[in-house]
């Protein structure tokens, strides 16, 4: 058909031949360039996406300290003997207890704890020394405020320990003149010798903050186009879903990387958490996580129609990641169902990677499994959102 070519004929000489563009990434470069301009043009948004995680890091990093020291303690020493003094010194010297008040009766002792001025009350009975010398059991009353479980647990452990060693020494000193115990446990905490909670929490926190940032960034990037009506326009062009999605993901992945580096820098220099492993390996293993989360953000954006919906969905998915990823609560102590649930949360693996590399100096041989799982997750996530995108346009 001769006239069939009226419209099909090619009037472009160079640089723009009309040809069927079967490249599945069509549109990738222009979209990337455009997103980069969007990011540059909105310095406030950039500022906040970078700054808010930093502020959170600082607030949580400084505020959270699960290490219990200097528990305010009230003493009622009814015995007032050399033996009771010796026992009390042990409590004082332990660093765990800080004596805030001495009282002279039971009511006052209880009163101080109820009022919250002391978390622990120690009462040494009047017949303490007499019973000891008579070789009988002397009861020392330790009142513990259970309303703060970590403080209560720590106080209980230390009090038991002190009572135990005091008893042993007394029991043994009858026969052995040397005041030394035959067996002494000398525990050594590896990787985090001071048991600082900052070392434990901050690497996990960075993982959680990264999740929040990446999901939010991409979810909003697409929803913004839908809200403005520009997405409609893009559908009418030769852009392919994969080109559109990767074009959106890549610029934000760069931002996410920069943010990761920034957070790690602050962790190292502001909180003094040492990095024992290879930083490059860390950045390598972060990549599939970032891709997974950006893909997840896109998935949200294929469902959400407004900015609010996207933000809510992004925050809604934060909760399981915070509580089930091992960031705060150890996974090993969870019921089996939640343990399984934690296995499908990408953040779980990133936290394992972070703690492994930063705290324990783990290498790729130790962490390849986590890396592989995250890589698979990122591929699944991006394919699923690309498919949903395709459906939406058809």
């Amino acid at each position: 058909m001769a006239d069939d070519n009226i419209f099909k004929q090619n009037n472009r000489t160079e640089g723009g031949p009309i040809k069927a563009r079967t490249n599945p990434f069509t549109g990738l470069l222009p979209i990337m360039r455009k997103e980069a301009i969007h990011i540059r043009r909105d310095p406030m948004a950039l500022f906040f996406t970078v700054l808010i995680p930093m502020i959170q890091l600082f607030m949580i990093g400084y505020a959270i300290n699960t290490n219990v020291r200097n528990i305010p303690t009230v003493i009622y020493d009814a015995a007032r003997t050399q033996e009771s003094k010796r026992l009390l010194d042990r409590f004082v010297n332990s660093d765990d207890f800080k004596i805030v008040k001495y009282v002279t009766n039971d009511e006052e002792l209880t009163r101080e704890i109820v009022a919250g001025r002391a978390k622990v009350g120690i009462k040494i009975p009047p017949d303490y020394s007499r019973l000891l010398l008579a070789g009988e059991t002397a009861n020392v009353l330790i009142l513990i405020d259970g309303s703060e479980s970590s403080v209560a647990g720590e106080a209980l452990n230390v009090a038991n320990g002190i009572a135990m060693s005091e008893s042993l020494e007394r029991a043994l000193s009858v026969s052995v003149t040397r005041q030394q115990l035959p067996v002494a446990a000398r525990p050594k905490v590896l990787f985090n010798p001071d048991s600082r909670s900052a070392n434990f929490l901050i690497p996990g926190m960075i993982a959680v903050l990264m999740q929040m940032m990446t999901v939010l960034l991409t979810a909003i990037a697409i929803v913004r186009e839908r809200e403005r009506g520009t997405l409609e326009q893009l559908y009418m062009t030769p852009i392919k879903p994969l080109g559109l999605m990767l074009g959106k993901i890549i610029p934000y992945a760069v931002v996410a990387y920069a943010e990761t580096l920034l957070l790690i820098t602050f962790m190292r220099w502001a909180f003094g958490v040492p990095i024992r492993g290879d930083l490059l390996l860390l950045l390598l293993l972060v990549t599939p996580f970032i891709l997974t989360m950006l893909g997840f953000g896109l998935l949200i954006s294929t469902r959400a129609n407004t900015y609010q919906e996207a933000t809510q969905a992004a925050f809604g998915t934060m909760m399981p990641s915070i509580f089930l990823s091992g960031y705060i609560f150890p996974i090993d102590t969870m019921p089996v169902f939640f343990q399984m649930l934690s296995k499908i949360i990408p953040t779980t693996y990133l936290i394992e990677i972070f703690r492994g590399i930063i705290l324990r100096g783990a290498n790729l041989a130790d962490l390849w499994k986590q890396g592989l799982i995250l890589t698979m997750m990122s591929m699944i996530m991006i394919s699923v959102s690309a498919m949903r995108f395709n459906k939406k346009t058809q």
Binding site: G15, G16, A20, G27, K34, T230, Q233, M236
Partner: protein, 312 residues
């Protein structure tokens, strides 16, 4: 060969039929006006023609390519400009144009030539570095047109391109369309404005998903359904249009009456003379009413057709 051709094209969303057996042809180089109330299926038809929706029935070709199997080819060769301003407001005029040039894969000398041509055509030169969001409505539409036209499409879909812009900008934009049309570009324009419809070579009117009128504006005005046997149309100029309208509607020789600005358009029985109408008006106290016979306007056409469909 027509630029657009559809046969019984039907689009369904679940049980709802958005476009119902529409058959039409748009010739190369013509300006085709597509009219209809909101939600009647105008945008849906455009989407289907660009291959974004799969027809439940029938088929369509655009520029000789099949809407279903060759959608990629179509999207590469047509331009689309949507009803609301849908460019990136935080990008400059230049960046918006360059983005769409990139999307359509232009490069090298061709890109440079097209950019120069498009900017010259739309007179956007002084605003190139301005953010698109800071342009006035008319200039935004020019930019939208520039972006839709950057890849030299043979066919442009304009979905209510002049909604919400001032009359001067509207006229400027239409002048631009005629200029391009003169170069052989085909336009498929949806609009609500009757004066714009009158400018189109041919128009189609879609109502409740069905194409109920299709032809040149003159052909439509001659349609027997619009001017039934034994009727005529007259215009009454009077100062009290609204009360006079009520009065005229009560007359049994009046088939239909509507207000057009300062006058009333009547569709009435042919055997009643204009003097009779004048006498009736005078008796009611409407002195000095001027009457004259008129041919139906496009609006008359669409109102009549719509009403006749709504009456059982």
């Amino acid at each position: 060969m027509p630029a657009i051709s559809t046969q019984d094209l039907t689009i369904k969303f679940g049980n709802f039929t958005a476009v119902d057996r529409v058959s039409l042809q748009v010739e190369g180089g013509e300006i085709f006006g597509f009219l209809g109330p909101n939600g009647s299926g105008k945008t849906t038809l455009i989407k289907a023609l660009c291959g974004l929706l799969r027809p439940a029935l029938g088929k369509g070709t655009v520029l000789g390519f099949d809407c279903v199997t060759e959608a990629e080819q179509i999207r590469q060769r047509v331009g689309y400009m949507s009803q609301k301003f849908s460019l990136y407001e935080d990008l400059s005029v230049r960046e918006n144009i360059e983005f769409y040039a990139g999307v359509y894969g232009l490069s090298g000398n061709y890109l440079k030539r097209r950019k120069d041509e498009t900017i010259a055509l739309t007179h956007l030169e002084p605003y190139l570095d301005r953010r698109a969001g800071k342009l006035s409505g008319g200039w935004k539409q020019r930019l939208a047109l520039a972006c839709a036209f950057i890849h030299e499409p043979k066919l442009l879909f304009l979905d209510e391109p002049t909604a919400g812009i001032d009359p001067v900008a509207r006229r400027d934009l239409w002048d631009l369309l005629f200029q391009l049309s003169g170069r052989g570009v085909t336009f498929f324009v949806t609009t609500h404005y009757m004066d714009e419809a009158e400018r189109c070579g041919r128009v189609g009117y879609i109502y409740l998903s069905k194409l109920i009128a299709y032809g040149t504006p003159e052909e439509l005005k001659q349609m027997p359904e619009v001017s039934p046997m034994g009727t005529k149309r007259i215009e009454i100029d009077t100062l009290q249009t609204s009360s006079a309208l009520l009065f005229m509607k009560g007359k049994d020789y009046v088939r239909d009456a509507t207000i057009f600005g300062q006058s009333i358009h009547l569709l009435m029985d042919d055997n009643v003379s204009m003097d009779q109408v004048k006498t009736d008006l005078k008796r009611e106290g409407y002195n000095g009413a001027a009457l004259r016979p008129i041919t139906p306007s496009l609006e008359d056409v669409f109102v009549t057709l719509t009403n006749s469909l709504n009456e059982p």
